[in-house]
């Protein structure tokens, strides 16, 4: 097992982790380490090839990978250490107030990192089919919108040809357009609520531009097909979200994309014993973005799901500064 000591360990190298690392560095921390489980920095921005990022932060409209690259270049220029392909498995609190981050990677095996401060920047995950209670078999062709986005935008593979999208979150809307551009037929987007969860601009430029219908107060009540999705039954719902009998209709498709919400990824936070907030699914934090365990800070989508990456960067910038201040008070390593 390899051991090391740091002032600030940042868990996650997406937009939150990168901005937090930069501001901690600028606030005077020297020993900063970013732990990222993917093979590169940037997080989910790398697969968000559409534009619209950075209007606040950089005063221009960038694609996801371009936005990520701005931060990655700054982090590299500051010579902040990163470990890629490194999975954090546990965070614990020592009696002396130090935190121990346990992680693993192929090169070093098990890593034990003692650190003054931790910044949680793990982001979020998509709500999966299992959480949606849609009856039916488990045929191929059901993906979360973000998984489909990874296949199309990172691997150049199409998950299907005829698509229904359940949920009108921004990723679902963005993927509706993306699938059409790549030659698929998008039958419709169905949204359980009487309003869309996505930005108005995405309804305009992703659905209206391509003539894709959006059915509000509508959900998928059955998925057809045993080996592969063959179609879905759509049903109107009442104001309580209950299906209205007799309102069903069938839509043929070979693919169902789910864009039904994001859940902060807080297994490590819960494992550490931090107090959680049932509304945000993130840790409870004070005005310094510090959770119930002193010296542990949270920012970005792991804290609560943000609409804009610009807001994530701004929040992470604060978390980095507060973590640096904590390290100063607790005594620097060097």
């Amino acid at each position: 097992m390899s051991r090391r000591e740091e002032e600030v360990v940042i868990i996650g190298g997406g937009p939150a982790g990168l901005a937090a690392a930069l501001s901690a560095k600028k606030a005077g921390c020297e020993r900063i380490l970013i732990l990222e489980r993917d093979k590169e920095l940037g997080g989910i921005l790398n697969q968000c090839i559409h534009n619209g990022f950075g209007l606040h932060t950089f005063k221009e409209e960038l694609t996801g990978p371009e936005y990520a690259d701005r931060y990655i270049q700054m982090v590299l220029a500051e010579e902040i250490s990163c470990l890629l392909r490194t999975m954090v498995t546990n965070i614990s609190l020592e009696e002396d107030g130090w935190k121990v981050v346990t992680a693993m990677n192929k090169d070093q095996g098990l890593l034990e990192i003692r650190t003054k401060s931790v910044i949680l920047a793990m982001g979020c995950r998509e709500r999966p089919r299992g959480a949606l209670n849609i009856p039916g078999y488990r045929p191929a062709g059901i993906y979360s919108a973000g998984t489909a986005q990874y296949y199309v935008n990172m691997e150049g593979r199409m998950p299907g040809r005829t698509v229904v999208i359940l949920g009108s979150g921004d990723i679902g809307l963005i993927m509706a357009r993306r699938m059409v551009l790549e030659g698929a037929k998008v039958q419709c987007v169905a949204e359980l609520r009487p309003y869309s969860g996505g930005l108005k601009r995405n309804i305009v430029q992703c659905l209206d531009d391509f003539g894709i219908p959006l059915y509000l107060s509508t959900t998928v009540s059955a998925i057809h097909g045993r080996e592969r999705v063959e179609g879905v039954t759509l049903t109107r719902v009442d104001e309580n979200g209950k299906p209205i009998p007799g309102s069903e209709w069938e839509v043929p498709c070979d693919t169902l994309l789910l864009s039904c919400g994001l859940i902060p990824e807080n297994e490590l936070t819960v494992g550490l014993g931090a107090q959680m907030d049932a509304k945000t699914n993130g840790p409870v934090v004070n005005e310094r973005l510090e959770c119930s365990i002193s010296g542990v800070f949270a920012c970005g989508n792991v804290l609560h799901v943000h609409e804009l990456v610009d807001h994530v960067s701004a929040e992470a910038d604060k978390a980095g500064r507060f973590a640096a201040a904590y390290v100063q008070t607790e005594g620097r390593l060097i």
Partner: protein, 125 residues
């Protein structure tokens, strides 16, 4: 006076997440008037959207020598909306060879729009 206006369109501005509800109209003297915008970008968008709508197109192109890899690209500026699918068709035949850097031009004058296709993500060799 409505009879003096030749065309009025209500639309949602797509310049930023605010999504202002715009009203764009061609006045009798030929000028375009945009209302409902909270910033100057909205005025410019409203006029364009009324007269000749444009969009930035983002997509991917293949990376040579890598089986499951594509790289993000975009039109360097907005192109006419009706050229979107033609632009996509042109991108199907493009393959880039690493290394590529952000901003590298992979296709000039896509679909005869005068706009180039540029890479949005660097790939090392």
């Amino acid at each position: 006076m409505t009879e003096n206006k030749t065309k009025t369109v209500e639309m949602t501005c797509i310049c930023c997440p605010v999504g202002c509800a715009l009203k764009a109209e061609i006045l009798a003297d030929g000028r375009v008037q945009v209302t409902g915008n909270k910033c100057p970008r909205g005025a410019a968008y409203g006029e364009k959207e009324l007269i000749s709508p444009t969009r930035i197109v983002t997509s991917t192109v293949r990376v040579a020598g890598r089986k499951d890899a594509v790289v993000g690209v975009k039109t360097a500026s907005d192109i006419p909306k009706e050229k979107i699918m033609e632009c996509m068709k042109a991108l199907r035949n493009i393959t880039v060879t690493p290394p590529v850097a952000i901003g590298d031009v992979v296709l000039k004058n896509v679909a005869d729009t005068g706009v180039d296709i540029v890479v949005t993500r660097g790939i090392r060799e």
